[in-house]
């Protein structure tokens, strides 16, 4: 089996074989929402950090009992899965105030079904980036580390944490190398395949992932690149973009997704953690001071710069800005993104959609029309 097939398989099921192996050793798995949860803290506690998603959820009725149709379907899907014990392999959940929908998902879950997870914790992430905010976040991480230690009876030493950061930095470096390959005129990997790789990164032990990534990069070196595509595309926008099938629909129509600015993509791994004397400060600084989520009020200019850099580096012909419907942070930012890309002469398409991949006819029609306007 090739490394790509291996990684693809690991990304296909929520409770994948790596999770099962881990659990069979009596070890714990803790799920997290949002890229503002530093996985290294869990990893240093010999706990598998697991990026929670609800891929495949087609019925949100369990979550809809508590949340409204006005809430995003990613949050309602995850709440449904949690209430239906689809995350029974998780020993805990970690939330942040990443957005209104996710923080309220936590409120609902801890109120109506606290028994589902032995450990639930919440990290307060400031909504701007500056020294004071980084310091505030650092203190929150110290509290989180302490809560993990107490809940799981472990001690997270600086030595273990430093080792975890090194492993994670290697992951970041390897994924970045993958993205560099996507800058080529004939990239050796599709967008859908890349998303599967990143999903695997969020749901298996990083040391194993790193070994598979090294093998994948070797495989790709010898692979003939993709040609004959109609346009090079970028996916930008909100979280919840975790369904490779969605990317596949776009690519089946002839578009090739060559990069992204998304939290299930580049924002997850783009910058390494610079290790300093205070490791919690190192983590805080790195997680805050990287390509940011739209929740960071004072970093809009930097986000737009990041977007334009990615467009230039990956020779993007058009940007698909996708949002899970009712996401207000990314929805509000649409005003600035569209304006900036219009000024830069970059073709742009805005899509809002439900989390579940339902009827795809309209989606295909819109993508097809967009490709016709930008194809090479």
């Amino acid at each position: 089996m090739s490394a790509l097939e291996d990684l693809t398989n690991l990304a296909s099921d929520l409770e994948n074989s790596a999770v099962k192996d881990w659990k069979s050793q009596g070890k714990k798995v803790v799920g997290f929402f949002c890229t503002y949860v530093p996985e290294e803290i869990l990893y240093a506690a010999d706990i598998l950090p697991y990026r929670v998603r609800a891929t495949g959820c087609t019925d949100t009725s369990s979550g809809d009992v508590y949340m409204s149709h006005l809430n995003c379907s990613f949050a309602r899907s995850c709440l449904s899965f949690a209430l239906e014990d689809r995350y029974s392999f998780l020993d805990g959940l970690v939330y942040t105030n990443s957005c209104d929908d996710v923080r309220r998902m936590y409120d609902n879950l801890r109120t109506v079904a606290p028994e589902k997870f032995a450990f639930m914790d919440f990290i307060d992430v400031p909504k701007k980036v500056d020294d004071a905010a980084i310091d505030w976040y650092r203190n929150g991480l110290v509290g989180f580390k302490s809560n993990v230690e107490k809940a799981f009876g472990v001690t997270i030493t600086d030595e273990k944490l430093k080792k975890a950061i090194e492993v994670y930095n290697e992951t970041r470096s390897l994924l970045k190398q993958l993205y560099e390959l996507r800058q080529m005129d004939h990239p050796p990997i599709t967008g859908a395949e890349t998303l599967k790789v990143i999903l695997a990164a969020g749901s298996i032990p990083k040391d194993r992932f790193n070994e598979l990534m090294k093998a994948l990069l070797e495989e790709l070196k010898g692979k003939k690149g993709i040609s004959g595509y109609r346009a090079r595309l970028m996916i930008a926008g909100a979280g919840g973009c975790d369904d490779p099938e969605y990317f596949k629909i776009i690519e089946d129509l002839g578009g090739l997704i060559v990069t992204d600015a998304d939290c299930f993509g580049s924002r997850y791994f783009w910058q390494p953690v610079e290790i300093g004397d205070d490791l919690m400060l190192s983590l805080a600084r790195a997680y805050m001071d990287r390509p940011t989520c739209a929740r960071m009020m004072n970093r809009l200019d930097e986000r737009l710069d990041f977007l334009k850099d990615m467009i230039a580096d990956h020779k993007v012909d058009g940007v698909i800005y996708q949002i899970i419907r009712y996401c207000q942070v990314w929805g509000g930012q649409l005003l600035a993104v569209r304006d900036e890309l219009n000024k830069a002469g970059v073709p742009f398409m805005y899509l809002d959609r439900e989390y579940a991949l339902g009827g795809t006819g309209q989606l295909k029609t819109r993508i097809q029309a967009f490709l016709e306007t930008i194809e090479r």
Partner: protein
């Protein structure tokens, strides 16, 4: 001939002046309140005309800072007050829909639409807190960039704590320095102290006034007081707000003493655990509830301002810390910023303190955070106090989603449940 340019600040001034005049004979004190609201926008219009600084601020950003710096604060989301004038907001909201999704809070889309249309003078700066919701955070930075307006974001913590107050105080001090740089206006500590004295007094009187509203029968109805929140968002710190509230307080005491009539013969008491439709400000659903059903609307969340006066005005640090605490305690920041318990407890307290028979959640479609836990709050109110809640989806400022006729239908179904529940509680 060129059409004269619209300026909604001036239209609001004129609109509220007309409302003041209309109410002057029946209720001169409340009429004065309308006049004060009109003056807020009149001053913004004049300042813009003169080239003096106007700041757009969000809920929770203390107006006291701006008043002390001689900057006119306009709460951009409260421009939804335009909903008071039928048929005005829709065109602007629709205009904004061309650039942002239609599920962004309409109170954010409205200022965007106004600015796009050129029907409001651009502010000189935007100063925004990261609460109560994602919509403000997502939209205001983008609006500032789109129109090239300087933006400052104040970060607030998720929960209240001593460290959190210090953090917000520090954020506000940085905001003051930023304002000095971007407006040329200086913070005057003596002026700030004066402003704080007036703000303290206004909050004191409001707390006393709201205590009177807890009486049975209720001496004043929400339709009389519902725009008071807008006054606090803009002029907490001006002496005229104190004078106005003291007038209302005296008038309310007179009603209790039987010198003047109570608003209605009270049969059912309703509290609104969240906001209320701004598109139906005078008359409409509130008159219908009171006149047709004797259901008095006592208070809504935004008027339930519980801010203890600042005792220590000795130095800048203590004042800024007090303002930090205040900003987190103001309605919206208090209920929507943190864990759901903050809204839940605020709702439970209102139901208990105001002796409600029924609770109304007028759920603004843009308020995702509250809709996400509306069932939990409704269930808790029922469980703790045996009081039913109706959850109604609407848009605060745009009547198209749930017109008044539709509201009436919802209340037609709800009020019998309220009466039945009251009967059960009374019979023990």
């Amino acid at each position: 001939m060129e059409d004269e340019k619209r300026n909604v600040y001036i239209e609001l001034t004129q609109g509220f002046a007309a409302m003041k005049e209309e109410l002057a004979e029946e209720n001169p004190i409340r009429a004065a309140g309308y006049g004060m609201i009109g003056d807020i926008y009149g001053q913004a219009a004049e300042a813009s005309e003169r080239g003096d600084p106007v700041a757009w601020i969000s809920f929770g950003v203390p107006p006291e800072i701006f008043l002390a710096m001689d900057i006119v604060p306009i709460c951009d989301v409260a421009l939804g007050i335009l909903g008071s004038f039928p048929g005005v907001v829709q065109g602007y909201v629709d205009l904004a829909n061309e650039l942002v999704p239609d599920y962004i809070c309409s109170t954010n889309r409205l200022p965007l639409g106004l600015a796009l249309a050129g029907d409001i003078p651009h502010p000189d700066v935007l100063v925004v807190q990261n609460n109560p919701c994602d919509s403000i955070m997502g939209t205001d930075p983008a609006i500032s960039r789109y129109f090239g307006l300087p933006f400052y974001g104040i970060s607030t913590p998720y929960t209240d704590s001593e460290a959190g107050y210090q953090y917000v105080a520090s954020e506000m001090k940085k905001a003051v320095l930023w304002l000095e740089e971007h407006t040329g206006r200086k913070m005057d500590i003596d002026r700030l102290r004066e402003v704080m004295k007036h703000s303290n007094r206004a909050h004191e009187v409001l707390l006393k006034l709201n205590k009177l509203a807890m009486k049975v029968p209720c001496p004043f109805a929400m339709r009389e007081s519902q725009l008071d929140y807008v006054l606090f968002l803009h002029i907490a710190g001006k002496p005229e707000l104190v004078d106005f509230l003291e007038g209302v307080y005296k008038d309310t005491q007179d009603r209790i003493a039987g010198k003047t009539p109570l608003p209605i013969e009270e049969k059912l008491r309703l509290v609104w655990t969240y906001a209320m439709p701004a598109y139906d400000p005078v008359g409409g659903i509130f008159d219908w509830l009171e006149e047709e059903h004797g259901a008095i609307n006592i208070i809504y969340m935004n008027n339930n301002i519980i801010v203890e006066p600042t005792e220590d005005l000795s130095d800048y640090d203590s004042i800024m810390k007090a303002l930090a605490k205040k900003s987190l305690a103001m309605p919206m920041s208090r209920e929507c910023r943190g864990p759901m318990e903050s809204w839940l407890n605020s709702s439970l307290d209102m139901v208990r303190d105001y002796k409600a028979d029924g609770a109304v959640f007028a759920g603004h479609a843009g308020c995702k955070a509250n809709w996400a836990v509306a069932k939990l709050v409704k269930d808790a109110i029922q469980e703790q106090y045996g009081v039913p809640t109706v959850n109604i989806e609407l848009d605060f400022i745009d009547s198209r989603l749930t017109p008044t006729d539709e509201l009436i239908k919802r209340f037609d179904d709800f009020l019998p449940l309220v009466a039945e529940a009251k009967k059960k509680r009374t019979q023990g």
